[in-house]
Each structure stands twice: as structure tokens, then as C-alpha cells.
Symmetry: C2
Subunit: 697 residues, 2 copies
């Protein structure tokens, strides 16, 4: 296997199916590679031609006889396998298959794609695509693909790299970001990902010394855990990994699956995975360009405390609104800073954060310099937003100087909201651009960028996650299907999750003897055929005596006879009722991309109506479980609330973490639901009142 | 009083406090008005000079002796009242006070502002500002103010007008939008709004024939109901009113109040008011520019059904994700359309919405024309998004022609996501710009714009709101303060809100006689001193017999003795308990900007923990009340749910609407809370189980 990083800087590149018509798919890369200054050798391959665009054209890749690290395949889908085989035989380590007509077209295409994959595997060459648009490396002027981006020789080289599952859209995003001044290094379109996948490309970009920031546009990833691992590695390497995920609505997912032939997993699980692995989610082009600009500034804030200073109050207020809404905090200045602000700012300005020096700055620009310096020097301030509205000319230049000096002195990020026309502030722009000081048009965008910097910094400096707890292995019964409530709860009890005290009465029980249980109790049907007991009248609550139990059994029997006459009755569960607990639920689902995932949320009527659920990819430790609890909209319910004390969040977190380990180590568990899990007052633990485990054979 | 619309097109303008230094506040407007082609007369006023910038300078406004409709006041705050008086005496109808140092600086400044207001009121001139940056009319080249926007002679004239409470920020937004090709007509900064307020300016802009779209940046409005009325008038006039509201976080509101000296009302109430009056909320500069571009297209969609077609699948998926998330629906094509799509699109594309014609379009541009036409002709499609990625040159031009023709033929909106560099697609850009076809860089922005068009269209064509119900007037007891539960519920019963059946036992009751109530019942303390009964152990629930009632009374007495020994005991309420209802709450608050506002949300533990509450400005009819119920995240709970039938939403909506009328017509009600209000199964109504009314004296 060849290291993917060699793909980015080939010594020579072959274009198989090269066309003499330079506007066609096989012609565009010949033209671009030949004319835009590619540093390596270019080998058009097509037996029909002797020469294309002044370059010698080879009859086959076998004839090249010189180092060639990449082949672009631009032949019809039916002929691509043979082309890949020939490249592999010629020792070319990477084939980028531009051709379309594979998995995305249905079963016949999928068969063609399988052939392609086999051809590559047999000869040891790696495949990029098929159904992709190629590879760009702006450092080495490698324009290896087709589409409009491969006709733009003026794209800026830089240190942002991109991998995209959508060629046309991904490269158009690159062009938009380029127009906003972001320079790119490598951009690659992975198409159907028959062999090389997005996570693998990300891994290679983490190793690539020329790449500082990695962007990915994804519709789905087959191996979600590899994406997470790549996220963690990027984090460790200090390279922000910005991921734009689409195909998130039901209609969008359906369209994504017809686009590349893959199924997408659930969006909320992707988002959880991003959070667990330090991946920064992106939602639009501006968002991506803004984030790149922020990270290219090169300084991370030490914490979440922001300050803002501006020549107009409005901008500071907008910045503050958004920063607060996104979880940052407003810095409270120390005495030193307050002294400087009081001395410098007129009474109609504001000396508290957000600071407003007002238009009076037009009469004295030294004021702004002093204020910026004092604010950035304040140990309470982690990063600073400077709002210059449309300040032009000399004032802008003096502000730019003050900003550069303050950054150099204090090594904290400053970002600007500033919108003068370039020609009215050329010198200031030049100075700020040279220092990679991020400039945004709107205070709202500054706040969003500040959030990204602070978030990345926080994740970078966070303590390593707690290890998942040790959970003993259990023995699942042979065969597949649902386990009944009693057996499901017994398995949970084995892994240390407390279950309600209960007694099982036989199916033919008429009048039970005295039971060693505390009233009130619930009486529930026990039946291998019934998963959702309460929907068929199989649950009676709040029963306070032995006669009540007998009556409840009679009612349940009558309900079942009416609603589910065919269902086997295996017995009746009489269980103690928890009266002092909050109803929650823990669930396990298996996601096609991420495997076992734990869901935690409020139980009872809240579950379905409020959809207040947190997800995490299993397994994980108690800290992650605590974060899930804190993430619910209803998180306040777990604290002291309306006169009652706080609930046993620690026991709850322990239970969630234990379930996550169970889900990860028992692969035969297809689904698991604990609902309700009662969370009792602090010190009194949790109790699973009902549970359902479904196993695979 | 002079009609404000005359302000926008003055025949002559005086600059009081004109400065010979053209960079100063009193000099900038002289220079701009003199040099940028203003169509009226310019009168610098300052006894110190004979001439400024080649213009005759007058010693006082009395000397002008020619029609002068506006005076800019650029003298120090202390001198401004006198200047305003002189202008009023000279018959100048409008004074724009640029000076700062008023209410925003504290009590002394507030006194100065009061003087200013009096000076204007006495002489009949209207005040704009103080603490503002002036007025711009790009149609008449009126550059009447200071700051960087007044140094930009190249700003585009157009039909968007703007009013902003923040001068510096508002004008910088205008410049940003201008750089995105949006042309403006009038822009005005209102500063402290000592006299002329934002809603009044909006009213004038609705009357202004040159204005097609109105934008407002606000931090607070003193008269929220006038803003709502302006919104309704703008809607009736077919002019979208786009409002950007800041000062929404607690810190932001504090900063806003120090910015202009005004208090902001609660943000969620503003948002409710926007919804009630057809105002379109804006959240950022791009958002504003994008919305302007969409509305300048000039065609509204008939409904919420969108379709998308593109040359790259990725863009269509992103558009779809966002459109669906924002409540639009994906059009399902008719047979005609399907036939065209099947014939035109290759197998690796997508013939379902979002349609993907793929890069094959490069080989046959007629394909795109056919597809666009068929999709727009389809009666199932209300508007169309076309995703052209970075398509340049001839392909772009042919697409642009197809788009123009399709719009002309079908009179439905088409919007584009398209990002080629301008120079690679000049002819296409020119054609699309000429037709006012909105172009965005990202499919996400296209979706947001489509949402705005569809939303405005829906509100425009909605049936007029139902009238508020007739509610009989009640007699509130004299004096102010809280009314106890029994009196509060009695008043509610008078306006037709059912209350729980109950009996009040005397304070000294030991052993009650048989009661005509259905068990279970609740026993609650009745005390003028206790507003929150359950927090002091004053409520016992689930009591099932007369002895239980006696015991409950004893417990409550004991609890009170311990927790609130000073509280008077006025009696004990024994009330039937509703067991088949969902707990909700209805509240009334008085907002400083909007007056009486009704809040509706889930009751019980959900209230505080979930903050799932809908607001509306009172009074309103049953349709608005229904919308409030539907707006809750937990709205599903009111339908059929988990085996039980739907709840009595109609009775609930009626109760909410009745409370809204009560709140509006009884001005002495300071606060009202019905909590819980039980909503019972359909046909069985609602029951107020507890209530608290607080009156003003």
C-alpha cells in the first residue's frame, strides 16, 4: 500500500483517455497541467493521438517509461477497469477515476464499480473515485481534473486543504473561499469512494506538512469511527478539521443516496460524533471562509472571555448578543483597564464591555490605540473584537498599527468587523493582511469566529476523556429477537444497573399470596410476544394491596383477550413503583456509519413530544455521560428544582456509561431500551423500571 | 406637523455649525452636499465664516431667505436647543441633530434632551436625533450627515430604504449591501429618537413612492404597537419590512441601554410582535442583502413548494436540507415534467427533486433549458432554485437565457446559486442582473431567500386575523396587589374560563362536614400573604376522603407555622383534581414597549425546565391562540398521543384568546397567571386549577 500523501505531489501524471479536444473531460486536465505551471511531468495517454497540446501522447501507460505516480482515468465506465489494471501493472500507485456511471446508477453500475475495485486491489494501485472530479494542488500547480476550477490559473496557494464527496460543489466552495482571500493547498474530490475514503484523505492531510487547516464536505461516511479517529488525530496535531455535512433532512438524505449511492446515517449521530472527536461543524460557505480566516490568524484564545471595542455602539451590541448566545462570556475588566477606559472615553461612550469609544475617535486616534492595548493586556480578556464600522484612510491605518502591535505584544487574537471599500483603506488592509488579522464584514460573523477559536482551544486543552468503566461480559441467550422485560432487566442488573424490586407471578395466577414488596406496585404483563406493554392495556399502576393485584391481573387478561388474543402470557410482573424519581430513558441504536450509539433523554410523555435526546458513540466514560445529561434542554430538572433537592446525576452518568460499554462489547445487542429509568434524589441512585433488549442471532 | 416624507427630498438644506474644516462633523456634510451632486440648495450657517468650500456661509438661519426644509445641527449639545429654536422660528420644518451628549450620558444629558424636545415642540419643527449621524437620499444625492458613508460618492441609487438607531453601524451595513449590488434610496439614522421615532420613519417610507423595500436596525422601540401597526401597513402596501433587532441578550440589552439611554423590551416579545405584524426578522448583513436581492426580483411564489435543479448533486442536497428545515416543502413533479426529466437526464443524475442534470450538461446545454422550463411550468412548483456551481462562459450564458425566458413565461421566481468569477461569465451576469434574477453564492443562502419570499407571500395572502372574542368587563377590587386564588378564579369564571369545582373551608375548620365534591381533591391554603403555595407546604394533593381533608389541613397548618408563621390564614380551599388533563399555563405580562402580552406554555415541571413558551401581543382572536399552541416544541402533546385521543385545543385556544382580551381591556391587571390550566380530552374543555391576578392601584 502506498502512503496517500504521495498522491498530493506526484513526479509525473498520466491522463488515460486524454482528448485532443481540450474542452472535454479528457482534454481539460491536459491543458491545465500543461499550461498552468505544474512542476512535474505530464503524460497524455491515448492510442489515437501522437501529440496533444504540444505534449507527446503515449499509446499506453506501459510506454511512459519514467516516474509516474498518478493516473487520471477519463475513459468510459466500461473501459475504466482495464485502464486501472494497466496502470497498476505499470506500477502507477494512484488512479483517479473521473468517469461516472457506477454505483450511483443502480445495480449494473455497482457491478462495474466492484470490477474497478478488484482491478485496483489485484494490481496494488489505489483508487480515487470513481465519479469524481479530480485533484488540485496549488503549491505544485497540479490541476488534475475537470470542471471550472481547473480553468482558473489564478487561484491562490495557501495552507487550507479540502476533501469533498461532491466534486462540482466542493470545488465551487473552494473558488468562493478563494475569492475571499483564502489560499488552498490540496483539494480532492472523492466521488463514490470505492477505495480511498474521506477519513483516509484526512489522515493524509494531517501528515501533510503544507496543510494547516483541513476542510471536508461529506454526504455520508461508511466508516464513521475512522472519521472520529481522524478528528482526534487532527486535534492532537493542532490542525482544525472543519466538516460540512449535508444530506441531513430525510429528503436530503434520499438525494444524497442517489448522488453517490451511499446511505447516510442519522444527522444527530454525526453531530454527536463531531463533538466527541473535536470536529468543527460548518454550515455554509461564509462560515467555512470565516473559520479558515480565524484559524489562519494563528493564535488561539486561552479561554471563553471576549471583549469588544468599537467606534459605534451598535456593532458591539450585535457581537455581544451572538457571543453570549453561543456560550462565550463577556470579560469583566480589571482596575488597570478601567482606569485607562475612564480616562480615554467620552461620557456618551461606554467604558464597560462592549466598549464604545464613539465617533470621538475621529478627533483622536491615540485613544483607540490606548484602549485596545489596555483591553488586550487585561488578564481577564482572552480575545478581542474590534469594530471599526467603515472607518477609512488614516484612522484605519492607525488602528491597524495599534492592532498589530497589541497582538505582537500580548499574543492574543484580535478580530475585526470592518467594511470600508478597499481603495479607501489600502494601507490598513495591507498591514492587517500581512499579519493575518482576520477581518469580517459583520460583528455577528466576528462572534461566530470567536466561538470557533474558543471552542477549538477548549477541546485542545481539555483533560483526556475518562476511560469507559469496566463492565463484566454477559451471556446473551442463543438465537435472536426480543428478550422479555424480566430477562432484559436481569442482564442490566448483572452489569451494575439497579432494577426495580419485583416478583413474577405465574401466568395462571388468580389470587397471589402476600408479597415481599412495598406498595404501591405496578402489575405488568410478561409476554415474549409483546414489546410495548402499555399500548395493549398490559400495565396497571398505583396498586396498593393484594386484592388490587388480583384485580389488575384480571383486567390485563381481559385487555389482552380483546387486543392481542394470540399473544402468549408468560406471567405477571408485580414491581415496586418509584415515586420520587424523574423518568428518563437510555437507548442503544446501531448506526450504519457509527455502530453502537447511546441515546439518553427524558422519559415519559416528554420522550416523544419533546425529542430532548443526547447521543454519543459508544463506549465512553462517565465525563461524556455527564455531558449528555447537561446537554438536554431539560437539564435543569436534574439540579435542585422547585423545592426538591438535586437528583443523583453521578449514578445516572455511571449507568449511561455502563450501557455504552455493554453496547460496544456485546455485538449481538441490536437494540436496547431502558424506559423508564428513574433518577432518584442524590445518594439514592437510579432504578430501571422497564427494559427491552433485542439481540441478533 | 409636517409630513415626514418631505424630509427625504428637501429643496434646501442648512448646516448649522458648519465648519471650514471639511473633515470635521460640521464640515463633512458641507463638502458632500456641495460636491456630490445634490439637487437642492446648500446653506452653511456659522457667523464665523463668509464662505465655506465655495458656498456662501450665513450668519444665522434667519438670513437664508429661501426655501429650506431641513437643518443639520452640528453645534455642541449645550447650544443645540437654541439652534433648533432658531430653525423653528425661521420656518424650517425638520432639524437633524448630529450632536451627542444627551440622554446616553446620564441625568444631565437627559435634561438637555428634554430642552431640545421643548424647543422643537414650541416652534413646530420636528427633531431627528439627537446623537445621530444624518440622512442620505441617493436618488437626490442628499448626503446630509457625517461619517465614512458621507464620503462615498459612488454609492448606488435604488429602491431599498433604511432606518437605523445606530448611525455608524447602520451606514456601514448600507455600504456592505451596496458592495453586494443593492441600491438604496433613503437611509436615516435616528439616534436617541427624542421626537421622530423608527415606526414613524417606517410609516413615511411606506408612503414614499421611491421605496420598495424597508430595512430597520433597532435596539429598542418605545412604542412597540406603533411598530406593529407600521408592519401591517407595509404588508398591505406590499413593501417587505426587514427588521434587524439587537440588544437581545441581557448583556446586549444593557449595552443598548447605555448606547441610546433606552430600555429594550424582551426579545421573545419582539419576535412575537414581528410575527403578528408581518415583519421579516433579519440576523446579519448577508441575510439583509440576500433578502433585498430576493424581493427586488419582484415575483412572489404562490406557495411553499420549491424545486431545485443543478449541475452538481451536492448543491441540491444542501438546498433541500435547509429548505425543509425551514418549513418549505419539496415539490412532487407531475407526469409532464417527469417525462421531460427522464428523457433529458442521464442515469447517473437524478430526476427527482432535487434534480441533478450532472456535468453532462457540458456536452448539451439545451438539456438544462428544457429541464428548467418543464420544472417551472409544473403547477406543483412555486419557485425554483438553479444550482450552477461555478459554470462559466457560454454554458453560463445559455443557462442565463433559459432562466430569463422561463421567468418571463411562467412568472414564478427563480434564484441561483452560482459562483464563477465575474470576468469568466460577464455576459451571463449582465443578463441576469438586468432581469433582477437573484444570485447567491451558496445553496443554503438560496434556501433562506426562498423561505423569505414564501413567508412574505403566505402572510400577504393569509386570511385577515379573526377578531378577538367579546369578553365582558369585570370589576377589579380597589387598591393594588395580589388577589388570592379564590378571587382570581372567580374573575376568570366571569370571563368564561372554567375553573375547578371547589369549596372554601373557614380558617378555623377542624373536621369538615361532607362536601359536594368528587374525590380525589386537593387541599390548599388560602392566604392573602402567600402567592406560591406549594413552596411553603401549602398544597396537599390526591386526598380521597373527609378524614384525609382534615389531616391535610392539620399538615398545612403545621407547615405554615414552621415556614411562614406571620402569614394570615384566610381559609382552606378543597378543590376537585383533574386527572385526565395536560398541565399548561397562561400568563399575562406588561412589556415596556408592547404593553399587555400573553404567554402560553406547558405547565408543571416543564414550565421552568423547558421554557417552552409562546408569546403574543394582546388582544387577539382564536386563530392566533391556535398558532401559539402549535408553536410549542411540545405541540404534539395536544394531538392524539400514546393511545389517548386529542385534547380540547379549541377550548384551550378560546381560553387563551379570552385572557388576551381581558389583559388588553383591564389596564389595572399588572400580572396574571393561570397555572395549571388543565386541557382535557376533546369536547371536555379546560379547567383552571389555580390562578393569581396582581392589580395596579
Amino acid at each position: 500500500m502506498h502512503a496517500l500523501s504521495h498522491l498530493f505531489e506526484p513526479r509525473g501524471i498520466a491522463i488515460v483517455g486524454a482528448s485532443a479536444d481540450l474542452t472535454r473531460i479528457g482534454g481539460q486536465p491536459v491543458r491545465a497541467l500543461n499550461r498552468f505551471g505544474f512542476r512535474g511531468a505530464v503524460y497524455p495517454v491515448n492510442p489515437k493521438y501522437r501529440e496533444i497540446d504540444g505534449l507527446r501522447c503515449y499509446a499506453s501507460v506501459a510506454d511512459i517509461g519514467a516516474p509516474c505516480d498518478v493516473a487520471l482515468i477519463a475513459v468510459p465506465a466500461q473501459a475504466a477497469s482495464e485502464a486501472v489494471r494497466a496502470c497498476g501493472a505499470a506500477g502507477i500507485p494512484f488512479c483517479i477515476v473521473l468517469s461516472a456511471g457506477y454505483r450511483e446508477t443502480g445495480a449494473d453500475g455497482a457491478a462495474l464499480e466492484a470490477q474497478l475495485r478488484q482491478a485496483a486491489a489485484k494490481t496494488g494501485t489505489r483508487l480515487i473515485g470513481p465519479n469524481c472530479q479530480g485533484l488540485l494542488n496549488l503549491t505544485t500547480r497540479l490541476y488534475a481534473g475537470f470542471g471550472s476550477v481547473f480553468q482558473e490559473p489564478e487561484l491562490l496557494a495557501g495552507s487550507v486543504s479540502m476533501v469533498s464527496q461532491s466534486g462540482g460543489f466542493g470545488f465551487s466552495v473552494l473558488m468562493s473561499c478563494g475569492a475571499r482571500g483564502i489560499g488552498f493547498r490540496v483539494a480532492i474530490s472523492t466521488g463514490n469512494e470505492a477505495d480511498v475514503t474521506t477519513p483516509e484523505v484526512i489522515e493524509a492531510l494531517i501528515e501533510d506538512p503544507g496543510t494547516r487547516i483541513i476542510c471536508a464536505y461529506i454526504e455520508s461516511v461508511a466508516d464513521g469511527r475512522r472519521l472520529m479517529a481522524a478528528g482526534r488525530r487532527a486535534l492532537a496535531a493542532g490542525k482544525p478539521l472543519l466538516v460540512w455535512k449535508s444530506g441531513n433532512s430525510a429528503d436530503g438524505a434520499r438525494a444524497a443516496s442517489s448522488h453517490t449511492g451511499s446511505m447516510t446515517g442519522r444527522y444527530d449521530i454525526y453531530r454527536a460524533a463531531f463533538r466527541q472527536s473535536g470536529i468543527i461543524e460548518i454550515f455554509d460557505i461564509d462560515d467555512l471562509a470565516d473559520a479558515c480566516r480565524a484559524f489562519l490568524g494563528g493564535i488561539l484564545p486561552a479561554g471563553p472571555r471576549v471583549a469588544s471595542v468599537g467606534i459605534s455602539g451598535g456593532a458591539g451590541i450585535l457581537f455581544t448578543d451572538r457571543a453570549i448566545a453561543r456560550g462565550l462570556t463577556l470579560a469583566k475588566f480589571g482596575d488597570e483597564t478601567n482606569k485607562v477606559l475612564r480616562a480615554a472615553i467620552p461620557s456618551y461612550g461606554s467604558i464597560v464591555n462592549p466598549v464604545d469609544v464613539t465617533a470621538s475617535v475621529f478627533n483622536d486616534f491615540a485613544l483607540l490605540t490606548d484602549v485596545i492595548n489596555a483591553m488586550l493586556a487585561d488578564p481577564e480578556v482572552d480575545q478581542l473584537a474590534v469594530m471599526l464600522a467603515s472607518l477609512p484612510g488614516e484612522g484605519a491605518l492607525r488602528s491597524a498599527r495599534a492592532i498589530r502591535e497589541a497582538i505582537a505584544r500580548h499574543n492574543k487574537p484580535i478580530m475585526l468587523a470592518w467594511v470600508p471599500s478597499r481603495k479607501r483603506a489600502e494601507a490598513a488592509y495591507a498591514l492587517l493582511d500581512e499579519g493575518h488579522v482576520p477581518i469580517y464584514e459583520s460583528p455577528v460573523r466576528v462572534a461566530e469566529a470567536a466561538v470557533k477559536l474558543a471552542g477549538f482551544s477548549a477541546v485542545r486543552s481539555a483533560a483526556p476523556p475518562a476511560p469507559p468503566p469496566n463492565v463484566k461480559r454477559i451471556t446473551l441467550p442463543a438465537g435472536g429477537g426480543p428478550l422479555d422485560e424480566v430477562r432484559s432487566k436481569a442482564l442490566l442488573a448483572q452489569i451494575g444497573i439497579p432494577v426495580a424490586r419485583e416478583v413474577v407471578l405465574p401466568a395462571d395466577c388468580e389470587q397471589p399470596a402476600a408479597l415481599d414488596l412495598q406498595y404501591p406496585v405496578a402489575v405488568k404483563i410478561l409476554s415474549r410476544d409483546i414489546a410495548h406493554k402499555s399500548e395493549v392495556g398490559g400495565v396497571m399502576l398505583g396498586i396498593t394491596g393484594i386484592d388490587g393485584i388480583a384485580a389488575a391481573i384480571r383486567s390485563i387478561r381481559a385487555n389482552l383477550k380483546r387486543q392481542r388474543p394470540e399473544a402468549a402470557i408468560d406471567g405477571f410482573i408485580v414491581a415496586e413503583i418509584i415515586t420520587d424519581g424523574l423518568e428518563t430513558l437510555i437507548g442503544v441504536v446501531r448506526d450504519p456509519s457509527f455502530g453502537p450509539v447511546v441515546a439518553f433523554g427524558l422519559g415519559g410523555i416528554a420522550t416523544e413530544a419533546l425529542k430532548d435526546v443526547a447521543y454519543r458513540v459508544a463506549p465512553f466514560g462517565i465525563d461524556v455521560a455527564r455531558a449528555m445529561i447537561g446537554e438536554l434542554r431539560a437539564a435543569a430538572l436534574f439540579g435542585a428544582f422547585r423545592g426538591r433537592g438535586a437528583l443523583d446525576v453521578e449514578a445516572l452518568a455511571e449507568a449511561i456509561a455502563r450501557v455504552s460499554v455493554l453496547a460496544a462489547q456485546e455485538e449481538r445487542i441490536a437494540e436496547l431500551d431502558i424506559n423508564p429509568l428513574f433518577v432518584r434524589p442524590r445518594g439514592q441512585g437510579v432504578v430501571a423500571a422497564d427494559a427491552l433488549i433485542i439481540t441478533k442471532p
